[in-house]
Structure formats: C-alpha cells, structure tokens
C-alpha cells in the first residue's frame, strides 16, 4: 500500500516520484499542470477517504435499508437464477478488466466469446445478424427507430407502437425519435394483443416502422405476429419485434414471422435483478447489415491462416464515421453479453426451453389461483402468458400493493384497479405465500 495520503492505487514511492520529476525536469507535480489560475480549483470536495473495509461496511448498512421483500416484479426486468459458474467465469480479470478489442491479436478470448453470444442470438431469433450488445431493450428500440429512419427515410415519419407499452420504453424511444424527426404513435390493442384490424387501417405511407412485442409488457403472447409482419411488409415499414432471451427459446422464431429487426432484453440471462441494469438485443436481417448500430464481431483469418476474430464493419461506428455513424454508441454491455452467453451455455437448449416453458406454466398456475380469490380476476387478458399477467381487483390497486408490501411482497400497480404479477423460478417457491397474502389483503 502506498505510504502517502494519496491514491492507494498508484505504486509510486516518494523516491520514484522524485526520480521521475527529475527526469522530466520539474520540481513537483504541480508544475506539470497548465491550468490558468482563474479556473483552477483550490477548494475541497469534502469527501473523506475511507478504507475499503469501512466502505464495505458503510454500503452494507446502506443497502440493508432496502426492505427484504419477495418481488413478483417484471415488466421488462426479470430475475432468474443465475448459475454460480456465470459469476466465477465472467469475473475473471482477463474479461472484466479488459477494454474494447481494438487490438484483436491479444483480444481473441473476448472476441470469440462475443462472437458466440452473437451466434446464440442468431439461433434464438433466426435472423442472420446480431450485434454484441445495446444498453437495454429500450435503447435498442430507439436505435431500431433510427435505423428505420435511415432505411425508410423517404417513406414517412411515423413509428407505430403498441398502446400497452412500458412508459419508460416509450420515452426512450421518443428521445431517439426526437433527433430523427420521427413521431411515435400508439396503435390500439384488443384484449392484450395488437388489434390487427385497427393496425391494418393505420399502416400507410407515413409509417416507417411497426413495433410489436411478444410477450407484451403485460406478459401476453402476441398471437398474430405473422399478420403484423405482413402488414408492415405490405406497407414497406420495418417490422421490429421486441422479446427477451428466455421467451425467444419457445415463442415463434422472429424470422418466421417476418421480423426485420429484433430488439429486447437479453439480461433475463446472466444478470440477476439489478435495479434495472440490462442488456439490449439487436438482431436484423442481412439487408440492414451495414446499418446496424453498435459493435459486430466477425470471423477472419490471421497471417498464419488460422481462424481469428475481430471487430468488423467499424466504418459504421462513431469513432470512424463520426456524425454519419449508425449510432453514437461506444461503450456497450459486452461483459453482460458474456454473462448471458455463459448462462445460455450452462442451461443448454434443453434447460433454456424448460425455463421458458416453466415461465408459461407458473404464470398460468398463479393466475388461476388468484382468479379463485373473491375480488380478483386473473389473468385480465384471455391470452397465453409468459411469466406475468395483469390482475383486476375490486379494491384500489395501490392500496392492495401497499398492503402486500407490508406482508413482504412487491407487485406492480398498473392501473386504478389493475395489478401485475410476475412469477419466475426465483419466486415461484413463494407463490403459495403470495396467494395467502392476497387473500389476506384483498
């Protein structure tokens, strides 16, 4: 540990610092700063340094102020059990403390891991191109809109999105659309699915993109994706489909329903519940290869003719193309993608499909039980659900949620008399207790 009162993460002894200053030819470090006096800072931040032990204790105390609730929460951020092997391997310093792979010859490990991640997304979506991560589902959706703007720029300025959409996702999309001068417009839904007839009436020349989700924000499997895809295709609009890495294991393959782009959350694999941290999927058809935002890893050969991997098609990117780049994204979620890939590998296709099917079964079973309670109807929508579903309650939903919180459970309030409940492998063991608590407070 450094003997000075400075940073513990610089190794300089006083003698070394002195030798270095002498080599440079200055008396002290101060002399190296070229900051005019009138803008120099000579105040204090008022941040007291602590030892690592003190900070661990402090943060532990702070985090302990979060109540210990069993969460039946989803709506885009899902908790599944993450096998230990994911932590242990992704935490290897060679992965965690590495930078973007600008020198591929000494970055083959991460490049291959990202290539494999891309490949898994290709398998899950059926689309031939998947990038190696966006920030999350919402920003991926925003990027899809800017892609639609670029590739359908003559067509119009309207992006159609489902009426039932997570508000935060809509806002993020709107912020991306702001710069592209696109207008976001909701299309009607019927019983938790897209109202395809209404959508058919709406799709026209001004529409550059149609977005649908399956499962929807309320957990409903969208039953007429093919028809939506056809509508978009007929209207020369991009069909963008939102999903998540677990649901994709069993739901219709996006390629088979005509999806041009798939966005969504891959963090359902690899990341535990993390206060909203995510991993954005971005996959698309070959047609848009050179319009993809974010990083792509490709296979190539090295000078010895051996297979090797490298970041590729970088001319799409901001560090080369600047204001004509396909996106401004630079730092992405590569390490989370690594974790998702390890998790997928640990499950294998059988485990992944089982997990997804369990998400369908558990949701149906829990809905059925809540539906049996007086004063509750579940699921609200007569659809198949993945993980989550809406519950109509006679009492005000907010009051019920507050009462449930007192009982140790967290659920979503999504309307005055509407709750939403999400069940996964992590909380399924507490479903009985949740039902009992519902019965208590309802």
């Amino acid at each position: 540990m450094s003997g000075t009162s400075g940073t513990p993460y610089a190794p300089h002894t006083d003698a070394e610092t002195a030798a270095m200053l002498e080599a440079i030819g200055v008396d002290d470090e101060e002399a190296l700063f070229d900051i005019p006096d009138d803008v120099a800072f000579d105040g204090e931040f008022g941040i007291e340094p602590r030892t690592e032990r003190e900070i661990r204790a402090e943060c532990s105390r702070i985090f302990a102020r979060n109540d210990d609730l069993t969460e039946f929460l989803g709506r885009g951020h899902y908790g599944h059990y993450v096998p230990s092997v994911v932590d242990h391997l992704s935490d290897r310093a060679e992965f965690l403390t590495s930078y973007t792979q600008y020198q591929p010859e000494i970055s083959q490990g991460f490049l291959q891991a990202l290539f494999e991640y891309q490949s898994m997304l290709v398998e899950l979506t059926g689309l031939p191109v998947a990038n190696c991560s966006m920030y999350d589902a919402a920003t991926a959706l925003g990027e899809a809109a800017t892609l639609a703007d670029r590739v359908r720029s003559t067509a119009g300025d309207t992006v159609l999105v489902p009426e039932q959409l997570r508000e935060g996702k809509r806002e993020v999309l709107a912020n991306y659309c702001d710069g592209a001068d696109l207008a976001v417009e909701p299309y009607p839904m019927a019983d938790g699915n897209a109202d395809v007839d209404a959508l058919a009436d709406r799709v026209g020349d001004d529409v550059v993109m149609v977005y649908a989700e399956s499962p929807t924000v309320r957990g409903c499997v969208e039953e007429r994706l093919g028809a939506i895809g056809d509508l978009a295709a007929d209207g020369d609009a991009l069909f963008v489909l939102g999903s998540d890495a677990v649901s994709l294991a069993v739901l219709e393959e996006p390629a088979s329903v005509g999806a041009d782009v798939v966005v969504g959350e891959a963090s359902a694999l690899g990341l535990p519940t993390a206060d909203g941290m995510g991993l954005g999927i971005f996959a698309c058809s070959d047609e848009f290869l050179r319009q993809v935002p974010g990083r792509l890893v490709g296979a190539s050969e090295d000078a010895d003719g051996d297979r090797a991997f490298t970041l590729t098609l970088q001319t799409r990117e901001q560090h080369i193309r600047k204001e004509r780049a396909t996106s401004n994204i630079c730092t992405n979620q590569a390490w989370v993608a690594l974790r998702a890939a390890i998790h997928a590998a640990a499950l294998g296709p059988g485990g992944l499909v089982d997990l997804a099917n369990d998400c369908v079964r558990e949701a149906a079973a829990l809905a059925d039980r809540l539906d049996g309670l007086k004063g509750a109807v579940a699921p609200v929508h007569d659809r198949h659900h993945v993980r989550e579903f809406a519950v109509r309650v006679d009492q005000p939903a907010a009051a019920i949620a507050a009462d449930l919180e007192t009982e140790g459970f967290a659920v979503h309030v999504v309307g005055e008399h509407l709750l939403q409940v999400c069940v996964t492998d992590l909380n399924a063991g507490r479903a009985d207790d949740l039902v009992a608590a519902f019965e208590e407070v309802i």
Partner: protein, 462 residues
C-alpha cells in the same frame, strides 16, 4: 492454442413444440444451441480468458480510454444481495438504493462543479446524448430555434454522432496550430444557430484549453451552451472543475475517471451534470432527500426530457464508482490526477518518439513520423505490452495517443518506453510481420469486413 467454438464442442437440438404448454402455432419448432457440461464451460471460458489482455495483465495505455486499475473490493460492494432490487419497487422499500444514488449524485456534482446530476445514462455516449437533449429542451423551452452543434475536429467520434443523433447539424472546428481551439475560428463558427459547443478539456492530446474563459464567453454570448465531455476528467480531479470553467452540462465516464471495470466493452455509466438552469430538463426520475418518513424520494424534474434508459441505468457500475470515490476522497482523487499527469510526462520524456504538442497532462500524442503507427503498435504487442491508441487524433500525423494513467509505476513505464522504442526502431520487415508472439498473428481486417461472417451458423461448411 485455438479454442474451438462452443458449437463445435457439441450442439443439441430440442423439439420445442412437444413439451410446451403453448399451442403449436405460437411456438418455434426447435432450438439448436451448444449443450456443454459445466466442466467444459469452465475450461472454455478459462481458456478464452487466457487469450485476452486486461489491465490486470499489464499496462493498457490507450489514449483517451483511461484504463486504470479496478479495485477488487468494489466488486464485493456491488455484489451485495441487498442491493439487488427491482427498479419498480416502491420508494419506501428501497431507501438503501436511493440513498446510495443520492450520495453519488452529490459526489459527482461536487467533483464536476455542477448543480444537479442524473445517473441514468448507461454509458458515456448515452450521457452525451442526454446532455445534448437537455440542451435542446432548454433552447426549445425558451423558444430558441437552434440547429447546430460546434465540435473541434480533434473531439471524440461520439460527440459528432451524438449531435447527429439529437438531430443537430455538426459544425467541425479545425484545431489551431498549437493543438487547441482556435478562438478566432470559434468566433466565426458560433452564432445564432449554435445550440452548443462540445469540448474535452484537457483535449484529446492532453492540452488544457487555456482560453476556456474566453471560449465560454463566446459561446454564451451567442446564446449557446457549453458541453463538457468528461473523458479526460481524470487529469483535472481536484485541480479544475468544468462548472468553474463555464461549462453548463457535462457527462462523467465512470469507467475512466472512477475506475469501474470496462468489461471488454461495457457496461459503463455516463452520469450527466448540469448547472441550475438546466436541472429542470434532466431525465426522470431524480433522487433527492426529503423531510418525510423516507429519507430519500424520487422526483420528476419539471420539464424532464423523459427517460434515456429503460430503467435506472447501470446500477452495478454506479455502486462501484461510489465505492471508488469514497475510497480515495479529496486527497486521493487529487493525487490520482497528479500521478496520471506525472506518468504521462515521464513516459513521453523516456521515449524516442516526438511529441509535437504540449504541455500535456494525462495523455500525449507521440508521432511515429515516417513509420506506420498501427504497425508500430502491432510490434509493441510482441514486447508484452498493449500499445496506445493509433492514428488518432488526426491533427498529429501517425499519432500514438498514449495515456498510462496513474496506476503504472516507474519500472512499468520504463518497460513500456522500451517497448515503444524497440518497436519504433525495428525494421520494416519486423513491423510488417508483427505481431508474432501473440495468440493470433496479424488479423486480416479487410476480409473480415468484405465477407462478414458474424455467427457460427455463417461458418458452417467452412
């Protein structure tokens, strides 16, 4: 040493329809993925990791990337299971996370000299976009229609792309002869259409923009806002604050300045700080202290631009940034900057390559002169170090933009200097043939782009 692809180790195909509780027409037919056992997974990723450079392997002097050591304890802090909550939980039940967020907002505001900070942007570029959208909302709220963002030619590519993403036209400002902003050129470029000037300070060759006060006046007088790209903040810690220099909005790169691990590309976090006048436009929700039973509450700034991330940003990264700042405190942060600047100056002194511009701070752009900077870099790989950023910024010919950060000691810098000099002085043949002591020899980037093979399915039959 080639490690097979996971798919080459054995795939399995599962018949999906068969066992699914969903009707056939709503499911895919089958799913094919690798099906390795846990020992195979452990070996696969262990071997892959062994083919990867990292800050824990050695110096990583990528200019403008600020690759510093990631203290191990911050991982343990972030792994606290109590911090793992869902973002839709009630305020009342997540006081801990709200408190830490509030504390970090306060730290960052203090360090940047800003009045309000949002933690939501999930990376630096996302922070830029947030900042520019905030600036845009500010102008729009004032009924002030502005269409341009001015950016020095030497700026990070993200600045340009961000301005474009936000819907602005980019006005590129050529560098002055001294490598800094040419104040006259700036005056000419700035006007009624100027929404903002985006500036990095010190700039991308490590030079402090000495005329920053004048620059700020020019921009402000024209009704524009001054945006600070936080990429080089590590050079200023404790010695200068963007807020004190007239910047109105800035982002922080926590994986640079605050030592959160870069994870081979991300996740980062790009908090944005603003002066009071812009605070009402920040993304929602923000966190503040309150007087009630709960110590902390979320709130929506009055004229918020809405959200820039689906939830609340890269939480695990933010925790690590908090822990790092708390570990160093005032003195540690100032010392980090001092040592970063010392190291850059010492290394520049030690190498044979010319450094055209100075006095520089935490990084410098050496020039490879007649040599190809990219080739010199490849040869440096053979000497066991990671080379600097090459061929950028363009104002320095065959640039080797070098930022050792504060974490290297004298002997490490001496080794790095030796690698520089050996590579720089090597024969053309050696440079062409480099690298040849690495897991892979020189990789053909052109054919990778010409014939993109982006998944193992694309390699089938090869």
């Amino acid at each position: 040493v080639r490690e097979p692809l996971l798919s080459e180790k054995g795939e399995a195909t599962v018949d999906v329809g068969a066992d699914s509780p969903l009707p056939d027409d709503l499911t895919r037919d089958e799913l094919t993925l690798p099906a390795p056992s846990e020992p195979e997974i452990a070996r696969h990723y262990t071997r892959l990791s062994q083919m990867n450079w990292a800050i824990d392997a050695g110096p990583y002097p990528l200019g403008s990337c600020t690759m510093k050591y990631n203290p191990k304890f911050t991982e343990d802090v972030a792994a606290d299971p109590n911090a793992a909550v869902h973002p839709d939980r009630s305020e009342r039940s997540t006081q801990g996370n709200l408190e830490l967020r509030y504390r970090l907002q306060e730290f960052l505001a203090e360090i940047g000299g800003m009045d309000a900070v949002t933690l939501q942007p999930p990376a630096g570029a996302a922070g830029e976009l947030t900042g520019i959208l905030v600036a845009k909302a500010y102008h729009e709220h004032r009924g002030d229609d502005r269409s341009e963002v001015v950016i020095p030619a030497s700026a990070h590519g993200t600045n340009f792309a961000t301005a474009a993403t936000a819907g602005y036209d980019v006005v590129e400002l050529p560098s002055g002869d001294d490598g800094r902003v040419d104040v006259e050129a700036l005056e000419a470029a700035v006007g009624d259409d100027t929404a903002a000037l985006m500036l990095t300070n010190p700039n991308t060759v490590g030079l402090f923009e000495r005329d920053i006060t004048e620059i700020a006046e020019i921009v402000h007088d024209a009704g524009g806002l001054l945006y600070y790209d936080g990429a080089n903040l590590n050079a200023l810690l404790g010695r200068g604050r963007p807020g004190d220099m007239g910047f109105d909005v800035m982002h922080y790169n926590v994986h640079k300045t605050f030592a959160t691990p870069h994870g081979g590309g991300g996740p980062g976090a790009g908090p944005v700080g603003v002066v009071d006048e812009l605070a009402e436009f920040l993304p929602a929700p923000q966190v503040r202290e309150n007087e009630g039973a709960n110590g902390y509450e979320r709130f929506e700034p009055e004229r918020t631009i809405g959200k820039v991330h689906g939830f609340a940003g890269n939480w695990l990264v933010l925790i690590k940034a908090y822990a790092y700042i708390a570990r160093l405190g005032d003195a540690g942060l100032a010392d980090a900057a001092a040592k970063a600047v010392l190291n850059a100056n010492y290394l520049a002194e030690r190498i044979d390559l010319d450094v055209p511009h100075g006095p520089f701070h935490h990084e410098f752009a050496a020039t490879a002169g007649e040599r190809d900077a990219a080739d010199v870099a490849k040869r440096m790989l053979d000497f066991g170090v990671h080379p600097p950023t090459t061929k950028w910024p363009e104002m320095v010919p065959e640039a080797m933009l070098t930022e050792p950060t504060e974490i290297e000691g004298k002997s490490s810098l001496d080794d790095l200097a030796e690698a520089f000099d050996l590579a720089y002085a090597d024969t053309d043949e050696a440079l062409d043939a480099a690298p040849n002591r690495t897991a892979a020899s020189r990789i053909d980037q052109v054919s990778a782009a010409r014939n993109p093979r982006l998944s193992w399915r694309a390699l089938d039959g090869e």
